[in-house]
Amino acid sequence: MANPSPSGPILSAQNLCVESLGGKERFPVLTDLNFTLEPGKILGLVGESGAGKSMIGRTISQFLPHGFAVTKGTLKFDGEDLVGMGADRRRDLLGRDIAFIPQEPLSGLNPVLSVGQQMKEHLLRIGLQPGESWKLRALKEFEAVHLPHGAALLDKYPHQLSGGMCQRILIAMAFASRPRLLIADEPTTALDVTIQARIIKLIGEMQRRDGTAVIFITHDLRLASQISDEIMVLYAGRPAERGPAKQLFSDPAHPYTRCLQLANPNISGPRRGLFILPERMPGLRVLKELKGCRFASRCPNVMEACTQTEPPLADIGPNHIAACIRTEKTPDIVPPPLAPGREIASANIHFNGERLTKAYTTAWSPFASRSSFKAVNSVDFTLGEGEFVGIVGESGSGKSSLARLVVGLDTPTDGKITLAGRDVTANRNADKAFRRDYIQMVFQDPQSALNPRRRIGSIVTQANEATGLLNSHRERMVRAAELLKEIGLPPDAAMRFPSQLSGGQKQRVNIARALCTLPKILVADEIVSGLDVSVQAQLLDLLLKLRDEHGFSMLFISHDLSVVRYLCDRVMVMYRGEVVESGRTEAVFSKPQHDYTRSLLAAVPPDDVNSEWSPVLAEAGYQVE
């Protein structure tokens, strides 16, 4: 079906503007978007959340939120005007010539239909060769995306499959029609790092096979630079910089690109400090009134002229443009020096876990025998005073189960837990009271971790409510103000509700609550995943600062190896409930001993765009259950 025209771009935008028209006021959402995408090329769209990345995908499909409309400029798909075209023609193009891969593989598939039914529906819609059965075609497409046991897959429902497999099925569907344009909106954000590498490689492979043009939307500049031909960095709805991927990454011209790069911890070479981008991207309301450069309020190179007029997108090299009037100063932006490495001389062991094992059993019922599954299997580890220990591993490796054992939300089925010399394995009420002052947890999802019906001031001082100390409202508010100051929130935040805060601010509140009683140990479960790199850098920095003040030690669970490398003194690698490797972070990351550690490390896109990214593409773990 694909009939790529030999000449001319597949997608081109000229001065494209999208505005929100809701209510009486108009707000610009996307401004001055200019780009062309040649057949077979990959354009990476990079930016923080709220930069308008996804809005571009939605503009192409004309699936804009209510009240949003294209108010200026043109958007052409292979010469056809996408904005003005009739709904019939657009419906014809979407899913056939323009394919999508969504962010959440599980919500991309219908949970009540089997994979086969959905595949059939899609294949019949895009049309089959004469005499071809949909089943054979489906199997052929599954084979192309390296899905084993294709025939068995057809009868499965999405919830029976892993996220990686669902994403492969969606990729198979997207490429089944040999589309001319593919829009991949953060296709790997919800997946594990090793699966991410495989999915990215797969998209690249399919794209080369069909000569498809791809728009790859991601928040990860490093990832985008690995797979894209060209990158466009968006800031607050306007391109900040656009250029060839490798050049843009190794020699960024716009300060924002440089800052984004420096805010992300490196995975190889000597550790460096993180560049902390202050505050947040301006909101729509602020943008409307803004005269000068959008980035001026956060830019380290800002000067008087920047705040006067919006800088134009100027050529700074072949195919390389940037919206900055002093690009020559950009390389001068350097990360702050790394905080001096601390010597963990103290042999003061806070936490000691021996042979920790946790088996989960199915729900109680008198009519069924209970089956059990070992989530954590014989794990030994210690936490010294002021020590940050990282746990890395894929989802399902038992990281979170171990965290629940450590804080005492679960009682181990076997093994021994000693807290400051006291055996608290049995987790009796007295043990719990002892534990509570000693160890606290920062939860993963700030959405679920903060009670939406409590005010921030009440949340952060929740611990006082249980102990009976500081019970009066005034005393609690005083303590809340102290805590909010420590974590860098304005004092008036105490009276707000969680829904009135941003994701990064909620995570700060989450940390403040755990710090309220000044515990000796913090357990942090994936507390920076799902946050923008700038917010992540702010939080990591905050944790280090708080350690200097309070000297707590921390068990830091993350799937992001570069973050663990930046933050932790020691690291443990978990695989299927067991610790397969542990040691000093530097040693483990530079000379990994276990195969699994090596494959985890290889799955991270390298810092240097010119070095080969060769993730281990073993198909282990992809078994149809």
């Binding site: 109680w364 939300l409 509570r436 947890m441 679920s448 019906r453």
Partner: protein, 285 residues
């Protein structure tokens, strides 16, 4: 002046509240509002048509029944029984159902299993038959009507609330509360209950409508309050024999029941739309 809370802005909630307010006024001030004594029999004026029809009497605005009692007065006094039953029975059913739901959902395990099975067995009895049997056992009277409705309908609360409690129980903030040393009681009342409250209020207002109907059924078969207390179900039963001569005697109490149940249901629906956190903003508007 503070802006109205979101739930009070809903037209459905306002409609429901106005209806219930009118009924409440009728019930509380019944002796002042009713033109006649509801039990006074005027055998000289039986089956009088409403005042606007031929042969109507202004003394009996909605006419009289087969014993010459004023229909309007009986309707107004009937609101007392209906509303008393609606409020007390739904509060009682809510307390039992919600308590068990929170225990089952929060603790899980065998307690959850046990409560779940009791609810299932309870639900497998036809509710009207169960309440009739209870009334036969307990004897008539306002208090027993309330007890019967509570015993039949607590399961509704338990079922629906338990699943909501389970959802909230898995939120990290409940784990966080346990970690800072909250007792079970405190965790349930401070962390979980505020989350289930909107659903609880909604269910209660729907339950009031159900209670009005069940009370009408019971008084229709003479199993509710004694014949000396006017009740809407009783009025329907009385009017049945003269359905052709005086259709309005039948229509009036039916309209009253309809009006009350409609008020409670539309209030419940409006509350569900505005208080339910699971509904998105777009669905609300």
């Amino acid at each position: 002046m503070r802006p109205l809370p979101l739930w009070l802005k809903s037209g459905r909630v306002q409609t429901g509240l106005v209806i219930i307010f009118i009924l409440g006024i009728c019930a509380i001030f019944a002796p002042y509002l009713a033109p006649n004594d509801p039990n006074e029999q005027n055998l000289l004026a039986i089956l009088t048509p409403p005042a606007w029809a031929d042969g109507g009497d202004l003394m009996f605005p909605l006419g009289t029944d087969s014993l010459g009692r004023c229909v309007l007065s009986r309707l107004i006094f009937g609101a007392r029984v209906a509303l008393t039953v609606a409020f007390t029975a739904s509060v009682g059913a809510m307390i039992i159902g919600a308590t068990l739901a929170h225990i089952a959902g929060y603790f899980g395990g065998w307690i959850d299993w046990l409560i779940g099975r009791v609810v299932e067995i309870w639900l497998s009895f036809p509710p009207v038959i169960l309440s009739l049997i209870l009334m036969v056992g307990l004897g008539t009277g306002l208090r027993n009507v309330v007890v019967a409705i509570i015993l039949v309908d607590w399961t509704r609360f338990c079922r629906v609330l338990r699943s909501e409690v389970i959802v909230l129980r898995r939120r990290d903030y409940v784990s966080a509360a346990q970690l800072v040393g909250f007792s079970h009681w405190r965790t349930i009342t401070r962390e979980i209950l505020p989350g289930t409250l909107p659903l609880l209020i909604t269910l209660m207002s729907l339950e009031m409508g159900v209670a009005v109907i069940v009370e009408a059924i019971l008084s229709f078969v003479g199993m509710s309050v004694g014949s000396e207390t006017p009740a809407w179900g009783q009025m329907i039963a009385d009017a049945r024999q003269n359905i052709y001569e005086a259709p309005f005697n039948l229509i009036a109490p039916i309209l009253a029941i309809f009006f009350a149940v409609f008020g409670f249901n539309i209030l419940g629906d409006g509350l569900r739309r505005t208080l339910d956190t699971r509904l998105t903003q777009t669905e609300r508007t």
